[in-house]
């Protein structure tokens, strides 16, 4: 039974337009209709989340898919910042990156990401991943 919580929104943090397009395509295919925002780097994502937080006076209901290699502020720095931010620290983050370097994985999980997904075979991974995210969004209770 669904509670009267707000439906989850997606925040795609990735500087690669094609990658974003791929995700959006995949979402369309899977008929994911949740609200989706895109930020092209960590700083913009942070600013965006902070704005949203003020709007709802609390943790906004976002599921963040985070790329690691971005200009200005990369994924790991974003994680540093967001976990340091009292209001936003509990936000659900899935790392979505091409890097399979174990070091990156370690560092990401150190920041308590919900999952670390490597972008391998574009369409298949995305479909499965987004399917999983869809299920996640529907089933899991997001923190507030």
């Amino acid at each position: 039974m669904k509670t009267a919580t707000k439906p989850a929104k997606f925040l795609i943090v990735d500087d690669d337009k094609i990658s974003v397009m791929a995700m959006q395509r995949a979402m369309r295919k899977l008929k994911i209709v949740n609200e989706t925002h895109v930020c092209s780097d960590g700083q913009k994502a942070l600013d965006f989340l902070r704005e949203e937080a003020e709007k709802v006076a609390g943790l906004p209901p976002f599921i963040v898919t985070l790329d690691l290699n971005m200009p200005r502020m990369g994924g790991l720095e974003f994680l540093d910042e967001i976990r340091a931010d009292a209001m936003l620290s509990r936000v659900v983050v899935f790392v979505f990156t091409t890097s399979d370097v174990p070091n990156d994985v370690q560092k990401a999980y150190h920041h308590n990401v919900a999952g670390y997904i490597v972008k391998e075979n574009p369409s298949q991974t995305f479909s499965e991943a987004l399917d999983m995210l869809d299920s996640y969004a529907r089933i899991v209770e997001l923190p507030v």
């Binding site: 094609i18 990658s19 397009m21 290699n69 574009p122 369409s123």
Partner: protein, 665 residues
């Protein structure tokens, strides 16, 4: 000039080297030891010479001198007793005893002579020996002549005895004759006495005749007495022995004898008177004649004197001999002394030489130890050692503060170069890592975009596209995929064998079967595995990569839909051997080297998808892990390829309960 300075420079350079210095010092020590040895040998030579002399010359000589002394003493004693003997107990002693003594003395003298002959072999002055010889000869002669004297004396004694005997018998006969004369006279006087009684005129004549007869008997009596006296005197004289004869008794005896002779003339001239005269004459000759008793007795007396004289001669002779012997003994003592002093001197020399050598050697060693080993060597090599180990373990900032133009200095500068190289290498590796990272992301990203976009176009506009366009797109996708795979493999190659994770305990069979599963997910191929059930301790990732690449190669390059691959594993305490055999087309001999190179494929990339890096990666991994990979195949003979990979195991494997090797489905 130039040559000299060049020589000097090269000499200084050589001298700076540790080994050269140590060798020089060892040579110095060796030379010192050699010199010491030589000097010691010299000294030992001297000692030996002195000892030899002492042993074979001085000592024997001393012993000889002692013997001579002994013998001389014996000689002296014997001589003394010989002399004393005859003095104390008189000259009349048994001939044998005395001549025994004399024999002994002569024998002793002979022995001494022998000793002297021996002595000539030693370092004794000639005159000393000569003197001694002379004195011995003198002693000998003296003894012999003394004996002669004595013999003479004794002979005389015999003669005396003889003479006395004769004298006595003559005396007897004379007395008998005298008695007969007396008898005659007595008878005559008796007759006359008878006649006296008859006539008075004849009385005077008879009285005259009686007086004459009376006178005659008186004469005869006194003759008898005189004879007795003479004989008694002769007896006395013969008993005197060696004592001084009495001149008075000689004179008296002569008187008596003259008397007798006169009185004999008065006797009637008868046969008896003739006999008597003969007797008396003979007696006279025996008593006072030139060979008579008195003469003999005198002779005896003189012999005795001579004997005493000779006896007295012995004493100085003895003292002379003693003195000579003393000189000899002194001489030999001198020689012994000299030898001993020589020996002692040589020993002292030896000791001082040895001590000096020891001292020099010790100081050289100490100096070497301090100057070279301590200063030049130990400290610096310690520093160098620390630096080497630090750099080897990764601390590339460790300084190398060792300088010098010797071997250590050279090593230090070489080490510094190594350090730089290591730093460079590290930097290079880091660069490579970065490059690999970049290749992974920045190159693949746009590639993925191209791939995605093209696939989206195909998806969205499938119907609107012409067949050629579709085909173009398909080809484009294939190429982008290939490029992606190439980049992946390139990344894998770049990373292969680097930053190996820790050693893990791996279940070998499980690991291999996993890889079989990945390579053959649909089970189209028949891949079997035989090997022990062990837990091996090694790096997991390289092992997986090797297996994965080899298996995928075997599968992809097989020319038939269904193939057979057999994997066997042998586990040794320090090595893992994997053998992969497939029944594919095989690899021709001329390509067997090439296939391990980068980007080499044997089939066009359109026929068999492959980056050409697979075997290069395997080779790199295997070699990085100090193993080996070999390939056996000859399509001319038969189908199939066998790859043999050896993998050193850093730690010993652990066996689990043996199970039957199972064939993968």
């Amino acid at each position: 000039m130039l040559k000299f300075s060049a020589l000097k420079a090269s000499l200084t350079n050589a001298l700076a080297h540790l080994t050269v210095r140590l060798r020089i010092l060892l040579v110095v020590i060796g030379v010192v030891t050699a010199i010491t040895g030589l000097v010691a040998i010299l000294q030992v030579g001297i000692i030996l010479a002195a000892y030899t002399e002492l042993n074979y010359s001085a000592q024997p000589m001393l012993q000889l001198a002692k013997r001579i002394e002994n013998n001389t003493q014996k000689l002296s004693l014997r001589l003394q007793s010989f002399t004393n003997f005859s003095q104390s107990t008189g000259f009349e002693d048994p001939v044998e005893a005395t001549s025994d003594q004399a024999d002994q003395i002569i024998e002793q003298a002979e022995r001494l002579r022998e000793n002297l002959a021996e002595l000539k072999a030693y370092d004794v002055p000639e005159n000393l020996i000569h003197d001694f010889d002379m004195r011995l000869a003198a002693a000998r002669t003296s003894v012999i002549s003394t004996l002669d004297t004595r013999d003479h004396y004794l002979r005389l004694k015999e003669e005396l005895r003889h003479d006395i005997h004769e004298i006595l018998s003559l005396h007897n006969k004379s007395q008998q004759l005298l008695e007969s004369f007396t008898f005659n006279i007595t008878s005559q006087s008796d007759r006359l006495m008878r006649d006296l009684g008859t006539s008075s005129r004849e009385r005077e004549r008879i009285n005259e005749q009686l007086a004459k007869t009376f006178q005659m008997s008186l004469n005869i009596n006194s003759m008898g007495f005189a004879l007795d006296t003479v004989v008694a005197a002769a007896n006395n004289a013969s008993d005197l022995g060696g004592n001084a004869p009495s001149n008075r008794s000689i004179l008296e005896t002569r008187e008596e004898l003259r008397d007798i002779v006169v009185k004999i003339a008065l006797l009637p001239d008868t046969q008896e008177r003739l006999e008597l005269v003969q007797y008396v004459a003979r007696l006279r000759g025996l008593v006072i004649g030139p060979n008579g008793i008195f003469a003999h007795q005198l002779e005896q007396y003189e012999l005795r004197q001579e004997f005493d004289r000779k006896r007295l001669q012995h004493l100085p002779l003895l003292s002379d001999i003693s003195e000579t012997v003393a000189q000899l003994v002194n001489r030999s003592l001198e020689i012994v002394d000299k030898s001993t002093t020589d020996l002692w001197g040589a020993l002292q020399n030896l000791i001082s030489v040895l001590i000096t050598a020891l001292f020099v050697s010790l100081s050289v060693i100490l100096f070497t130890n301090w100057a070279i080993i301590e200063r030049q060597f130990r400290k610096r090599i310690q520093i160098l050692n620390r630096a080497v180990r630090a750099i080897a373990s990764g601390d590339l900032d460790h300084p190398v503060p060792v300088t010098g133009i010797d071997e250590l200095g050279e090593m230090a500068s070489a080490l510094t170069i190594f350090k730089q190289n290591a730093i460079e290498l590290q930097r290079s590796n880091i660069e490579l890592e970065k490059f690999a990272y970049v290749a992974a992301h920045d190159l693949r990203s746009p590639l993925r975009a191209i791939s995605d976009l093209s696939s989206w176009i195909i998806e969205d506009e499938e119907n609107k596209l012409s067949i050629e366009s579709s085909a173009y797109f398909t080809l484009m996708q294939e190429r982008t995929n290939r490029l992606d795979r190439l980049l992946c493999d390139l990344l894998a190659y770049a990373r292969a064998g680097e930053n190996d994770p820790e050693i893990e305990t791996i279940d070998l069979s499980a690991c291999i079967r996993d890889q079989i599963q990945y390579a053959n997910p649909n089970g189209t191929f028949d891949i079997s595995y035989h090997g022990p059930d062990v837990l091996i301790k090694t790096h997991l990732t390289p092992l997986q990569q090797v297996l994965s690449n080899l298996l995928s190669n075997a599968v992809r390059h097989h020319d038939k839909k269904k193939g057979c691959i057999a994997i066997t594993a042998e586990v040794w305490p320090n090595q893992l051997t994997l053998v992969l055999t497939d029944d594919g087309p095989g690899i021709e001999v001329q390509y067997q080297e090439r296939i391990f190179e980068l980007f080499q494929t044997l089939q066009p990339r359109d026929d068999v998808e492959g980056s050409g890096l697979g075997l290069a990666i395997v080779k790199k991994i295997v070699e990085r892990n100090k193993g080996s990979i070999t390939l056996t195949s000859d399509p001319r003979l038969k189908r199939g390829t066998t790859f043999t990979v050896t993998f050193p195991l850093p730690e010993k494997p652990v066996a689990i309960a043996p199970k039957q090797a199972r064939t993968a489905a």
